[in-house]
């Protein structure tokens, strides 16, 4: 099975202190460390496991700049066979639809039976997977937490639904799935693994390679524009506990006791 997994380089939420930039339309990016979007990492692990079971090939693709190469290598160290970087100045400032258009064009350049995306990335929009499926006219399942290959035409996919219930669907290939965390336990990628793939050539494709007009993607093609970015003001009834972790915990326990939440 030929699988394409779309991955994104994002600021690592666990390892950064995130604050809104002074311009107010982004976060402060000076001291950030980046890694692969967590959901995408689960998607790559799932793709590798599928190929381990039924054979085939895993390609990881990222829309980004030169630095996105680092996360492609990390996923290749994990076991993805090929990488593909979609890079062009014209891609900058793409909205979700723009990103989906770029990916759609890349899908057209290959022959893939299955396309996986993470359920969402750091912005929490969870839109690219669905749009990509629509543009390709492929069937789509979101928030997938189980994949079973029936044959080369069909998959059985599990989805987590409201209230912790599980539903199982059959879906025809080729299709797009957005992968939920917890579907597997992604393997560890050590420094050694990354070094092993350090010199592997990763092909790069730009707008012209993909046959995309400069005005259909990037800032020029974006129909959604972020206009503001801020930490909401504290409403009535909200209280921020301050102090050391211990002090915060003590205050919280006290509050819970006072309001009858803890006996």
């Amino acid at each position: 099975m030929e699988i394409l997994v779309c991955v994104k380089r994002v600021p690592d939420t666990a390892e950064n202190e995130i604050s809104v930039s002074s311009a107010g339309n982004d976060i402060e990016r000076g001291d950030l460390v980046y890694s692969v979007n967590e959901w995408d990492n689960y998607a790559v692990e799932e793709a590798i496991q599928i190929v381990d079971r039924v054979g085939g090939n895993v390609t990881v693709v990222a829309v980004g700049d030169d630095e996105s190469e680092e996360i492609l290598r990390r996923e290749m160290a994990m076991g993805a066979n090929d990488g593909l970087l979609l890079k062009d100045g014209a891609f900058d400032g793409s909205d979700g639809k723009g990103t989906a258009s770029i990916l759609k064009a890349a899908v057209g350049k290959g022959k893939y039976d299955l396309i996986l995306t993470g359920a969402q990335a750091e912005a929490g929009a969870a839109q690219v997977g669905g749009m990509l499926a629509a543009m390709l006219d492929y069937p789509y399942a979101s928030l997938v937490n189980k994949v079973e290959v029936i044959d080369d035409k069909k998959l059985k996919v599990g989805r987590e639904i409201e209230g912790g219930n599980q539903e199982i669907n059959e879906i025809e290939l080729p299709c797009v799935l957005s992968i939920q965390t917890g579907i597997n336990e992604p393997r560890y990628v050590g420094i050694r693994g990354i070094r092993k793939v350090a010199s592997v050539e990763i092909p790069v494709m730009g707008a012209s390679d993909l046959g995309l007009g400069a005005d259909s993607v990037g800032a020029a093609g974006a129909k959604v524009k972020r206009v503001d970015y801020f930490v909401p003001e504290m409403g009535a009834g909200a209280e921020m506990l301050e102090g050391s972790t211990e002090e915060i915990i003590d205050k919280l326990v006290e509050l819970l006791k006072a309001k009858g939440g803890l006996k």
Partner: protein, 677 residues
């Protein structure tokens, strides 16, 4: 004719016996020749001395005195009797044979008297050992159900039975021979009253000379068959340690606290060229580690002291060895082809088993035949890391260390923030800002960032100031020391941390390094190379108190009872036991008690570094057991000298419900409070 046949028999049995033994041992050693290299030929003098020194230090450790002294006695007796057995075997072939000085005369008679005594003592010791096995049944010999059938018990009884049988037969052989000599009017040695030989010879005086002669010949024939039967049985079970024990002790690990290189003979800068890392299949173990498997006596002392076993984690060091030996026996059988290169993880060893180890070293401290466990565990983990098989709970901190140099992913620039509210008379220099100083205080991650542990950093800085040290810190240029990164098998990340820290330390131009974190101490001292000398703050304090640079005032809480908990990486791995105790005892009026398990028997707090992140399967927390031990000793204050111990103890006190009865404090914090300014 009869004598001739006897000589032929006496020749054939040893030849056949030796041939069979050599064949069996050659098959047993076959995997060692397919194993990874291991460099054990340095320090020959030290190693030879170890053969003498080791048994009487290790064997009768407290709690194991009986079995220890049975062993020492047996070794001495077997040593004495070896000459008698050699003589006996060769006399079978040529009756006039004798070893130099042992034919006739004072020395010969003296030796015969001593060996009579040795035989009796050997028989007594063996029967006592059998009594322990069969009647007393020490708990540590039990085999938990999940490890299958108890094969040790029948093996032990059979081996000990054979040894007792040998002693009895030898007594019969000597006593009947002595009787024959007496009847023939030849010179004989004096029998020491109440020895086995004396009793048997007394009984044999009831029988005729011919009867004694017949008994003498028959006992000889049976004896040599049994001797070689016994020798050939050794490689089938735990008695193999009679053969492999001495070489295993000779080849023991010399450098405490260190971890073996990924592959002996491959320098750190060549690691990238290795195809595979760590132990994935049996043949990836080093030959010495395979010898360890064969040498295991199944005595259970390791697991008896293992904190992971004690709290019900799925690890028992004893069965690491037993499973390794069973693997060798079944995959390198005595006949038929060898089964090679099968994966170990999942079939022989299990993930949780291998991640359960805190590398505290209690097992190795206890093993009477110097079996190594930490290096094997680390090698197995290296194999798992190389295959990407790392628990999710450990992946986050490892990736944070890779990116930010600390397991919580905190910002590098905040690493030195703890210094900001130090008093004005104690300023900490910052090498990242271009300062220079004599001494580097290596803070390490937890003490730099943790809300609670920065109090150790502040106390340490104040103590260094009080002791007049000219010191600084690396600040954002310091990364995690990597002690656990290495011990959790992520060697390449460790190499990066080591190279970075080494470069920064050398660049700072310091003459010495001091730390309050034993894990940092251990890795800087034993894993890094080319650094200035490293010491723990307790050593600095002991010295400064002794020479009067630091004086301490009377204990704040005269009613309190203090106890000191030895951190594994300060105590067992670096043998610093006395300095922290001396420092405590220098506080006037401080009352101190020892816990039952202290010094090299200290009980691990639950583990430090990455172990804080690992979520083990266990019935109880190690820390909880440990704080209960402190309470049992009558202590109200538990002093430790490691930030990880402090984290675990403070948690454990709450869980154990000992709040208000017991508190935990770091040595540096306690001493800082008693500075007499």
């Amino acid at each position: 004719m009869g004598t001739f046949l006897l000589s032929v028999f006496a020749l054939l049995v040893p030849v056949a016996g030796i041939a069979l033994f050599v064949y069996i041992v050659a098959r047993r050693l076959a995997p060692l020749f397919r194993a990874a290299p291991d460099f054990r030929f340095d320090n020959i003098g030290k190693r030879l001395f170890g053969l003498y020194e080791y048994p009487h230090h290790r064997m009768p450790r407290p709690g194991y005195e009986l079995s220890g002294y049975i062993h020492i006695t047996t070794i001495i007796c077997l040593g004495v009797l070896s000459l008698q057995v050699i003589t006996l075997l060769l006399q079978g072939i040529s009756p006039s044979f004798s070893l130099p000085f042992l034919d006739k005369g004072l020395i010969a008679d003296g030796y015969r008297m001593i060996s009579d005594l040795a035989l009796t003592v050997l028989l007594g010791a063996t029967l006592l050992a059998l009594y322990r096995r069969v009647v007393l049944k020490p708990e540590r010999y039990d085999v938990p159900e999940r490890y299958g059938k108890n094969k040790t018990f029948p093996d032990a009884v059979l081996s000990l039975g054979l040894l007792a049988g040998l002693a009895v037969l030898d007594i019969v052989y000597i006593a009947s021979g002595w009787r024959v000599d007496v009847y023939a009017g030849a010179d004989t040695h004096i029998l020491i009253p109440f020895t086995g030989t004396w009793i048997t010879a007394s009984v044999f005086s009831l029988f005729s000379p011919t009867a004694n002669q017949v008994v003498h010949v028959l006992s000889f024939m049976l004896l040599i068959v049994l001797i070689f039967g016994f020798v050939c049985y050794l490689p089938f079970g735990r008695f193999f340690h009679l053969v492999t024990g001495p070489p295993n002790v000779f080849f023991k690990k010399i450098k405490k606290g260190s971890v073996k290189p990924v592959k002996w003979g491959i320098t750190d800068d060549k690691l990238d060229e290795l195809e595979s890392f760590g132990v994935k299949k049996f043949e990836d173990f080093t030959w010495k580690h395979m010898l360890d498997f064969y040498t295991c006596t199944d005595c259970g002392r390791c697991s008896d002291n293992c904190p992971a076993t004690t709290v019900g984690r799925p690890l028992s060091p004893r069965f690491i060895s037993i499973k390794g030996r069973n693997y060798a026996f079944s995959h390198y059988p005595l006949k038929g082809s060898f089964i090679q290169n099968e994966p170990l993880m999942g079939d022989v060893f299990h993930d949780d088993e291998i991640w359960s180890c805190t590398t505290c070293g209690a097992c190795e401290e206890e093993c009477p035949v110097t079996i190594e466990y930490i290096d094997k565990i680390v090698d197995l983990r290296r194999g798992m890391v190389d295959d990407g098989n790392v628990p999710q709970s450990l992946q986050k901190p490892l990736s944070a260390i890779e990116k930010r140099g600390n397991p919580w992913g905190k910002m590098e620039k905040k690493r030195g923030e703890w210094t900001k509210d130090l008093p004005e008379d104690c300023s900490v220099k910052l090498f990242e800002a271009g300062d220079t100083a004599e001494t580097l205080y290596f803070v390490d991650s937890i003490t730099s960032y943790d809300d609670r542990m920065i109090s150790i950093a502040k106390a340490t800085a104040k103590l260094l100031c009080a002791g007049g040290a000219d010191f600084g810190i690396l600040g954002k240029d310091e990364k995690d020391s990597g002690n656990e990164v290495r011990r959790f098998g992520e060697e390449m990340l460790f190499q990066d941390l080591k190279n970075h820290n080494t470069e920064m330390i050398l660049e700072s131009g310091v003459k010495q390094i001091v730390t309050a974190d034993p894990h940092a101490l251990n890795t800087l001292k034993n894993d890094y190379a080319g650094l200035p000398p490293v010491e723990h703050i307790s050593q600095f304090l002991a010295r400064k108190i002794k020479n009067g640079d630091i004086s301490l005032k009377s204990v704040e809480k005269p009613e309190a009872v203090y106890t000191y908990h030895d951190p594994c990486y300060l105590g067992r791995h670096n043998e610093i036991y006395d300095a922290p105790r001396d420092v405590l005892d220098a506080i006037p009026g401080l009352r101190r008690v020892e816990m039952a398990k202290s010094r090299d028997r200290s009980f691990c707090c639950s583990g430090g570094g990455l172990m804080l992140f690992y979520e083990p399967e266990e019935e109880e927390r190690m820390g909880v057991l440990r704080v209960k031990m402190a309470a049992e000793a009558g202590a109200t204050v538990m002093v430790t000298a490691c930030p990880f111990c402090l984290v675990n103890m403070e948690d454990a006190i709450k869980i154990a419900g000992l709040e208000g009865k017991l508190e935990a404090i770091d040595l540096a914090e306690l001493v800082e409070r008693h500075l007499d300014k």
